[in-house]
């Protein structure tokens, strides 16, 4: 086969292959939303209970993904879970921002929600979030509900007897 035709086909082949990688990156993988290590800063948050939070779970503020959970470790002094959050440098938050572990949907994956505070100073690399809210554990919630129901039932019986 003619050499220029071979060259042309190989050129088309390579360009199509690179195009497929680009397509996978942008259309399928949404590379624009994944942050590079270089342009993030780390803040830390201590939680009583992280529930089902996983590394690489999103950090959202007002529903917008602003970062990801980089690391989760148990602090053996306080027995609290310390989550390292890699936040995109484009987003700055006040120093008294609070973090809560929330669930997407009823049984969806868990993520960290940021509620911006009113401090004039911003969070810096290595800051620790002071206000945190742990994950809601469904079993605890149900047992609390049953306990309250039982208590209510008992008191209403007593009220009936008093009458």
């Amino acid at each position: 086969m003619n050499r220029t035709i071979v060259d042309m086909w190989v050129g088309i082949f390579v360009v199509a292959g690179l195009g497929a990688i680009l397509l996978l990156a942008l259309r399928v993988g949404n590379a624009s939303a994944t942050f590079n290590v270089s342009d993030t800063y780390s803040v830390y948050a201590d939680f009583e209970n992280i529930g089902g939070l996983k590394v690489r779970a999103p950090v959202k503020s007002a529903g917008v993904v602003v970062g990801r959970v980089a690391n989760i470790q148990l602090n053996s002094q306080t027995y609290k879970a310390r989550a390292e959050l890699a936040i995109d440098k484009r987003y700055q938050f006040p120093a008294d921002t609070s973090a809560a572990i929330l669930t997407a949907g009823l049984l969806g994956e868990q993520y960290i929600g940021f509620d911006a505070g009113g401090d004039v100073e911003n969070l810096k690399q290595g800051s620790v979030l002071q206000i945190t809210q742990s994950a809601i554990v469904l079993e605890k919630l149900i047992s609390q509900f049953l306990y309250n129901k039982a208590a209510e039932g008992g008191s209403s019986d007593k009220a009936a007897e008093a009458k």
Partner: protein, 270 residues
């Protein structure tokens, strides 16, 4: 006494049979490693005449395009149909995009593309090199002081290594398109949810890059096996046909075994 001698003789021949096959297997493994090292060492010479490599990219990459694209489209469409059947029971048909994209990018794209590549291009490489050896073209080159490893084997090897990741990426991309065709166009899953859930779940570095690394490793394995089997083939018609079969079988086993090893390194601990 006679019986004892017979039993001893049978035992000795059994042991020597096992021993011979172990020694031969080890020798062949060492020969293959030396061959691979030689190909890599002399790849500078192959790249020096880059038009040869380009020609082999055409031979193993461009000519495999049709089978890769058609198979990718159908694998994606089947994933769309089967995934929808299962997901709709749990009321989460919108996760179809995630299912199709993750299974293609992480596993099916690299593995199925590599299996097809081994049977389409790997066997052709073995047959070509084996026949060149059988018709003494390789020996003729050596007589003319042309190194057959740099002139014939190297371009084949690098052509396959370059083609494989590109083919796997195209397989995954057209597979996602096939899943889209079935899921969104035919069944009627919501278009926005299909893409947005997919984009939320697929991470570029963790999923797409690891898939590309996988396909590059598979390409390397297939190229090494195919060129070695061709170079090592007995110079007869039967020898070349046996070598071609061995290429496909060994490549398939190597791809699946490597896939397990790579997956256990890449996608665990999450």
């Amino acid at each position: 006494m006679v019986w004892g001698a017979r039993v001893l003789k049978a035992l000795a021949s059994g042991f020597s049979h096992i021993g011979r096959s172990v020694v031969e297997g080890t020798w062949r493994l060492g020969y293959a490693s030396r061959f691979l090292a030689l190909v890599l060492l002399r790849s500078g010479l192959s790249f020096g005449r880059f038009s040869l490599v380009v020609r082999k990219v055409y031979f193993s990459g461009v000519q495999s395009l049709i089978i890769i694209l058609v198979s990718g489209l159908f694998v994606g469409m089947v994933l769309g149909l089967q995934g929808y059947e299962t997901l709709v029971r749990y009321g989460s048909a919108e996760a179809l995009g995630t299912l199709v994209a993750l299974s293609l990018v992480r596993e099916l794209g690299p593995v199925v593309a590599a299996l097809l590549f081994a049977s389409r291009a790997g066997s052709a490489i073995t047959a070509e090199i084996g026949l060149m050896k059988a018709t003494e073209q390789l020996s003729a080159m050596e007589v003319m002081a042309v190194d057959p490893i740099a002139r014939v084997v190297g371009p084949h090897f690098w052509g396959a290594v370059i083609s494989m990741p590109l083919l796997a990426a195209m397989f995954s991309a057209i597979g996602v398109f096939g899943g889209y065709l079935i899921g969104v166009v035919l069944i009627g899953v919501d278009d926005g949810a299909f893409w947005s859930q997919m984009q939320a779940a697929v991470d570029f570095r963790h999923d797409v890059m690891n898939g590309i690394i996988k396909s590059a490793v598979f390409g390397f394995a297939v190229a090494a096996i195919a060129t070695f089997e061709g170079y090592d083939a007995p110079p007869t018609a039967e020898g070349v046909s046996g070598a071609t079969t061995r290429t496909v079988v060994t490549s398939a086993l190597a791809i699946l075994a490597l896939d397990f090893v790579l997956t256990s390194f890449m996608f665990t601990g999450q």
